[in-house]
Every structure is written in C-alpha cells, then in structure tokens.
C-alpha cells in the first residue's frame, strides 16, 4: 500500500507554498490572459514562458464526482469522495468535498475552497456554498 504523494515538480512547488499560506495561487499568462493548471513551464496557447503567480478566488462548480470503495492509500480509508471542479478562473481541479453533501446529483453545485491538513501539509478541499 503506501501513502498518497504530491507531485512536487519544478513548477509545482510555488503553488504548494501558496497553499501552505492558505492563499492558493496559479500561474497566469499575461499574454494570453489565462490561468493554467497543473503548473507548467509555458502557456500551451501562447508558448510564453512569462507568467505571474496570481491568487484564485477558490470558487467554482462541481463537474463530476466519484466515491472510492476500494482502498488505494493508507492515508485515504474508503469510502471517500473525489470531485472535479471547474474553477471560476477556468481550469478544472480535482479535490474532495468536505462537510455536507448534496442530495442526488452533485453536478452543478457551487463550491468554495477550504484549507485542511493532510499528512502534515495544507491541502485545498472544497465545501458547498450556502
């Protein structure tokens, strides 16, 4: 088994540092005017290697969700959920919904980021708005 690992590539580290400050930032390409996720060396549209780390609002909409019934990680005992969220800034991120769960379909519900602790680091989770 083993625990879940973060991918901490060259461009990921500044993002996780911003998360540790509880102010999630993503790369923003001034040329193309778009945020990107996951972090990467260049913007795939403009091919520009110029970028800024900009804070995101942390709000978005659930695109889809799953419930894990099989155990894959020592630090994630099933059952637990994972969700795909379309951030208001554009990119899709995967996270987990914490707190109350919607009745019926989860798709289309508005969520906002809430920072939790996991294995000694700060991690962005999502909770329903309202």
């Amino acid at each position: 088994m083993g625990k879940s690992n973060r991918v901490l590539g060259h461009y990921d580290k500044p993002m996780w540092e911003s998360i540790s400050r509880k102010k999630w930032e993503l790369q923003f390409c001034p040329d193309g005017g778009k945020f990107r996720y996951p972090p990467a060396p260049i913007d795939p549209d403009t091919l520009s290697d110029v970028y800024e780390w900009r804070p995101i609002t942390g709000t978005g909409e659930i695109l889809s969700w799953v419930i894990f019934h099989r155990k894959y990680f020592d630090d994630h005992p099933p059952p637990y959920n994972s969700i795909a969220v379309r951030l208001d800034e554009g990119p899709i991120v995967v996270s987990q919904l914490v707190g109350p769960e919607p009745e019926g379909s989860w798709i289309g519900h508005r969520v906002e980021v809430v920072y939790g602790e996991h294995e000694g680091y700060v991690i962005p989770h999502m909770r329903l708005i309202g």
Binding site: N5, R6, S64, V66, H69, R70, H76, S82, V94
Partner: protein, 391 residues
Amino acid sequence: MTDLNPSAALAGTTAMVGVGHSDWIADYAAVRAGTKPHDSFGYAAIAFNRSLADAGIDKSEIDGLVAGPPTAHERMCEVLGIDPNWGTQADAMMGIQSAMMAIATGMCEVVALVYGNDQRSAAVNYGGSNAAGGNAFLSYIYHAPWGFTSQGALYAIMLRRFMHDTGFTERDLAEVAVAQRLHSSLNPHALMRKRVTVEEYMATNYVCEPLHLLDYCLINDGGVAFIMMSAERARRGKRKPAIIHGIGRHDLSREATSLEPRLTNFYRPAQKKVAEQAFNMAGAGPKDMSCLQIYDSFSVHIPLALEGYGYCGYGEAAKFFHDHGISLERGLPVNTSGGHLSESYMQGWNHQIEAVRQIRGECGERQVKDCRYVHYSSDVAGKALSIIYGH
C-alpha cells in the same frame, strides 16, 4: 488544421498474417497458485513462436520488430535472436501504425510485433502510491493527495458526467459485462467464462462508484504476438491474411491532467476525426462493420465508442444497447472474445488476434457470420486510434 487523410495511400497495402499468444488460462492459474511461469520476455517469446507457426513463415523472414511495453526493443531482439533493419518500442496500436509505415516505405518487409507482460505476478499497480504510467500520463498520479487514483477512477468520473448529460444508467452499463461474458463463455482461451446477468452485475461491489467490479478489466500475465507484411506478399503466403483497409489516429493530450477532454466532451472530437480517417480510407462505414473490437480497460469505453464513431447518435448508446444489441445473440457484436473484461488483459494486443480470427472465420461458436469488416478502436487516455480489418 487541414483535413488530413494521411494514410489513404496505405489502404489495403498491409496485412496481418500470423497471430499467437501464451496459454492465458494456465498462466493465470499458475500465478494465482503463487508460481511465476515466465517474465515478460518469456511470455512474449512463447507468443512469438506461435505467431511464426501460425503465419507459416521462418524467423529468418523477420526484418522488423516492435516490442510492446513493458519490454524494451533492444533486449527483445536479443532474446528472440533477431537483428532487424527497423524496429521500435510501441503499444499495440502505435506499433501497428508504425509497422504499416515501415513496410510501406521499404524500411523492412516482415514485422513481428511482440508483447509480454508479467503485470499480475510482478504486482504492477495501476493505482495507489506507485501507480504505473505517471511519467507518460500525469493524470495517473497528479491527483493522489485528494485520494483520486487509478485509471478506473478516471473513467468512473467520466462515466458519472456522461450519465448526467445523457441519462445513461448503471443498469445500461451492465449490458456490456453481460454481452462480453456471453462471448467469453464461447471462447476456449478466455479467463472468465461464466455468464452473468444484469442482476448479478448490480449485486457486485463498487470499486470506484459508479463503476462496479465487473466493469474493470482483468489483471493477468501473458503474451501476444503477430506478424505483419505487405498485402501483396501475404496473399502469396500459406495463411489467409487479414488486410488492413483503414487506420486513423488523433490524440487529445491538451489539458489531459485537468481532465478537460474527458469531462467536457468524452473524447468525441478525437473519435470523430479518427472515424473520418479510418472509414474514408477503408471506403466503408459503421453500417458495413460485422463486429467491433473495442479496447475495454473499463466497460464504459463501449458506449463512448459507439457514440463517438457514429454507430448511434450522441446520448443514444443505451437505446442502441436495448433496441439493437451488442452481442452475438442480437445486433452488432462488440468484443466477441470477451475482451479485456473477460478474455485477457493484454492491453489491446488480444483484440487484434480476435479481429484476425474473425476475418479468417476461425472463431467456432463465437464466429460472426459472413464477417466482412472488423473495426478495432481504442481511446486510451485520449489517444484515439482505429483499424479496419477485412478480406
């Protein structure tokens, strides 16, 4: 981008002439009993020998070699004692496309494509903390901090959105496992031969909801090999060849890690382009296909491919299942061997064997009557590829 039909000149020029595989059932039993009959090269070598015998050719005729991952091309050549003029490491789908180009351009004349995988006895993980494939597909490992792991989960989250958008249900999806078990029950090479019902499917556990256990491929050891050459040369040979009339490929890798092409449009743009390439090249369309072989690491590939390649309209897969049918009993048979769910998980390689056997008319109880064309399709993590086999 222009409308490409890059391979029209290759239509009907290449053929499969020999297929072989290891004894999947014996391999599976041995591994479950705690023994390890072979490593990946060993399984590949057994399959290679059988493909030569099936083709009725001598090893000396082989001057090109494709080794399927996890095996390396160079070491495979050493093990098989082949000094080729051309070769590469590639999966089944890319390997066939590359071999066609190599043969057409005169780089080599006869290509052996060999694959062995000890994934079960070597305890390869497709999810969890050391999930395989993350170097090529970042989505396989990137979301682990949120517990999101395994290729099954990637298709489960895609299926959930598909169900939301189209009204497709878990009971509809059960039809895939039921049909493919019917097919594997007629296949002496298949690992899982017991037929199942929709109710039995629904009673199995979820692995990653909404996917049930029977939506997942098997994990087993084994090997597959096949021999390709020009259609002209194949027609002079001893065995009836399966001619490749069409092939097409389009990848959707942009924003793959953030799941954009999965969740936004279910890879449909890739399948639409590939359908145009492959069907135009073959001069045949969905209505001409006698059966389909669809890469089925998970059952959800089947409704997505049927819609994506135009066998039915978008959102109509469930209706197609019920009104038309996807089994040897009724309608358009899909995965006539049982596929990855029920025959053997040979990562697209065993589907080519079944396609060749159906064209040759060698499939016994599961033979599709008057089999004229076989459509093979895969869309592994957004790499869509189709092959049209025929006479």
